[in-house]
């Protein structure tokens, strides 16, 4: 892997982080747009070793917890799980296919929301149902579409193995 490939990869990740705070998509007043921050984590972790994926997830989750104190700690736990599982799952199951990656983005977003909602203990009953069956699938779908678009546009720069460096 060339050093320039690695730089391009991290530039794309930084671009996703910036997009997270620059783009807001609403539907019926709810923010259901792509979660670019989680997308950056997934793109990193499926190319890294599970330990690094977990560590990156923990850091990102902790930063997000600072923005939504109602679920402090739950975000760190959720992103740790998603980062670790996506790195591990990629190693075991997933082929280098853009659509399979799309499914991974969808599942990762939904799993993150499930863990945050349950671990925070603030959402129960109907609210939890709406969150997991309506809003989270919508957000997961938009995140998956955005992820597939990013892979389609920048796939060549993202086709690297961080663990091989």
């Amino acid at each position: 892997m060339r050093r320039s490939d690695r730089y391009r990869f991290y530039i794309i990740l930084v671009g996703l982080v910036v997009l997270q705070f620059a783009v807001t998509v609403r539907l019926w007043g709810r923010p259901v747009g792509p979660d670019f921050l989680l997308l950056a984590l997934l793109m990193y972790s499926i190319r890294a070793q599970p330990g690094r994926g977990a560590g990156a997830g923990f850091l990102i989750g902790l930063l997000r917890d600072a923005l939504t104190p109602a679920s402090f700690g739950a975000g760190a736990l959720a992103h740790t799980l998603v980062g670790y599982l996506s790195a591990w799952g990629k190693a075991v199951f997933f082929a280098e296919n853009v659509w399979v990656n799309g499914y991974l983005f969808f599942a990762g977003t939904w799993l993150r929301n499930l863990v945050v909602a349950v671990a925070s203990g603030k959402l129960k009953g109907t609210m939890l149902g709406w969150e997991l069956l309506v809003w989270s699938p919508l957000q997961s779908a938009t995140t998956a579409v955005a992820g597939v678009l990013v892979l389609w546009l920048f796939g060549r720069h993202l086709a690297i193995r961080l663990g091989e460096a």
Binding site: F21, P69, A74
Partner: protein, 283 residues
Amino acid sequence: MALGADRYASRADTLVFIGCVLLSIAAMGLPDRMRDPFARALRQTVLAPLLALQQQTERLSASLERYDAVVAERDSAALAATFLAELRSENQRLRGLLGLGPRLGSGYVPAEVLHQAEPTNALTFLVAAGRKQGVKPLSAVVSPEGLVGIVSSVDAQTSVVVSWAHPEFRASVMAADGSVYGIVAPHGSEGPRAWLLELQGVAYSQLVPEGTLILTSGLGGVLPRGIPIGTVVAVAGEAAGWERTYLVRPAVHPAAVTHVMILTGPPLRSDLRSLFESGSPAP
């Protein structure tokens, strides 16, 4: 091509994973007095440029919306210019719709809501105004429709708002005619009536008709008197013939607001209810 799991899942990876999980669980158990300074430090350092970017984006979005509104008003005015009387009437109506800010006069800070893409976003959220703008903890956060929540903690440039949907939110309230006083709290997350409030502590003998406007009472000294909370929609329950609980439809949904006003100083009026009535004149 599938990659070999043996090359990836080393013992070190597992240890890092377990360590991160344990740290996350520890973070969940942190008391507020330790959690808040830590979160504040993150917001004021690593996240500060990103929050500033989000604030600018929200402002740009609002500016574009306002531009469209101004263009529409200009077109309407051009059309109405052919009928001067109608133009005067239109101007008068537009002045009446200038918004809550001028009616409040002073003692408020406008702020953009910095929504995050997490399920608990509607319970606590960040707003782009902090200590430098004069925001203090326990300040009321309102929109033109009514109460959104209360400031929980304040940073230099941002503040954390606990919305009425948070399980720990409580407010002392009264019926608009002052006949009934009680406490409102989130109704809970069970059943089809999630995202409603409930009015508690109303004596059994005091009936509150459907459609009654519920306002903050000002008791307790945290929230000013007269901010709309919502409207009574039904009886939620009765407690053995001595108390009734009513369901209240909130005036505003926290996930839907993009801009709020934070009341920072003593109100110009002892009762703010007239400020929230659309079309009321500025003081």
